[in-house]
């Protein structure tokens, strides 16, 4: 394994699509987490990109599990390691489908039970593994193979759902801000009890933009305010730098929407709805940060 940095736990190379931000996120998550870590991964792109038995490109233990099961499997692992007195990080790394749709029951249960683990949802806003069907996390107006005319329902607000569980640490992040992400992973792993990070993960084939624009897309999501970066410790909110900046001088939302093939044919009304929702979200976060609610 020569030529590999110590902190690289993903060996060259996974079978992820060229330009995949999900792999980028995982690279940085693992580097931040270090070697005493076990990953739990449900069915998703990440379960596929590891490679085919008997080889794997992941240089840490990875437990692949059924689609709905990641938070619950991680619960059991965490309890068992605790019983042994081990401090091993248990990280569930799941897609948006495996989190907001089929996986929400297990996640919500694990949070309520104050499971000591870190749950990371990388959000490519569709079912990537099966070829881009809509998920609950697909934004309004986005075309997927099951919403050929654009999705008619809003993106499920995972963060508010998780926030409702009032956990010691949760954060949002984005693949275009890997250092911010790494810092949040470190804080999350230093937390006793449940921690959660929701990472926006632009996906070239799913969002239909050229692979080289993956970082651009992530930055645009944050700069336009469609995606907000912040941390939440129980009820205390701290907005992260890039979003703070975006709140002062946001980039017009069209700059984010237009380059993405999945938004082809989106109506101006839908764009307005997305914009208003983003603005409301930012206002709520600002109010929460201030402590006015």
């Amino acid at each position: 394994m020569s030529g590999l940095q110590e902190t690289e736990y993903i060996l060259k190379c996974t079978s992820a699509c060229a330009g995949c931000s999900t792999s980028l996120i995982l690279r940085h998550v693992l580097a931040a987490a270090g070697p005493d870590t076990v990953l739990v991964i449900p069915a998703c792109c990440t379960s596929v990109i590891q490679g085919v038995y008997p080889k794997t490109s992941f240089r840490i233990p990875v437990y692949n599990v059924a689609f709905a099961a990641s938070a619950a499997v991680a619960s059991g692992m965490s309890a068992a390691f605790e019983a042994m007195g081990k401090k091993t990080n248990v990280i569930a790394y799941a897609g948006d489908g495996g989190t907001v749709d089929i996986g929400i029951q297990a996640l919500s249960g694990a949070l309520e039970r104050e499971t000591n683990f870190l749950y990371i949802c990388y959000d490519n806003e569709a079912y990537g593994n099966t070829g881009m069907q809509r998920s609950g996390s697909t934004p309004l107006g986005a075309r997927t193979t099951t919403t050929p005319e654009g999705k008619g329902h809003k993106k499920k607000d995972l963060d508010r759902i998780v926030a409702a569980h009032s956990i010691p640490y949760m954060a949002t992040a984005c693949s275009a801000y890997p250092k911010d992400l790494a810092g949040k992973v470190e804080k999350a792993l230093a937390t006793k009890g449940p921690a959660f990070i929701h990472v926006l993960a632009p996906c070239p084939p799913g969002w239909r933009y050229p692979a080289e624009k993956t970082i651009e897309m992530g930055k645009l999501a944050v700069k336009t305010g469609v995606w907000a970066l912040y941390e939440r410790m129980y009820e205390t909110v701290v907005i992260s730098g890039p979003t703070k900046a975006a709140m002062i001088k946001p980039t017009p939302i069209e700059e984010y929407i237009k380059p993405q093939g999945r938004f082809k044919g989106i109506t101006p009304e839908t764009i307005t709805t997305i914009r208003l929702d983003s603005e409301r979200m930012l206002r709520r976060l600002a109010a929460e940060e201030e402590g006015s609610c």
């Binding site: 394994m1 060996l11 060259k12 060229a18 490679g51 080889k55 080289e212």
Partner: protein, 80 residues
């Protein structure tokens, strides 16, 4: 017994030489590169060495992110 239990072993190149997927190849202009490390930070596949910023073309998929993100425009994508 253990081998009967389907454990995958980490090996370099577990998913094959993904360099063969490439249509365009990143070429770094060493004159322009100021070693900021942004390309390496953003390469989804970690194929850019963090010390010398050399690109492992056996595995680079040619996504073009490094070229796109390089603040110095030191990387160009050239047709294979």
């Amino acid at each position: 017994m253990r081998e009967r239990l389907a454990l995958s072993t980490p090996v370099m190149g577990a998913c094959g030489k993904t360099g063969t997927w490439r249509v365009f190849r990143p070429v770094v202009d060493r004159e322009i590169c100021n070693a900021c490390g942004i390309c390496s930070l953003y390469c989804p596949d970690g194929v850019i060495n963090e010390e010398d910023y050399s690109i492992d073309l056996d595995y680079c998929k040619g996504c073009g992110i490094c070229a796109n993100e390089c603040p110095k425009k030191a990387i160009t994508m050239e047709r294979e």
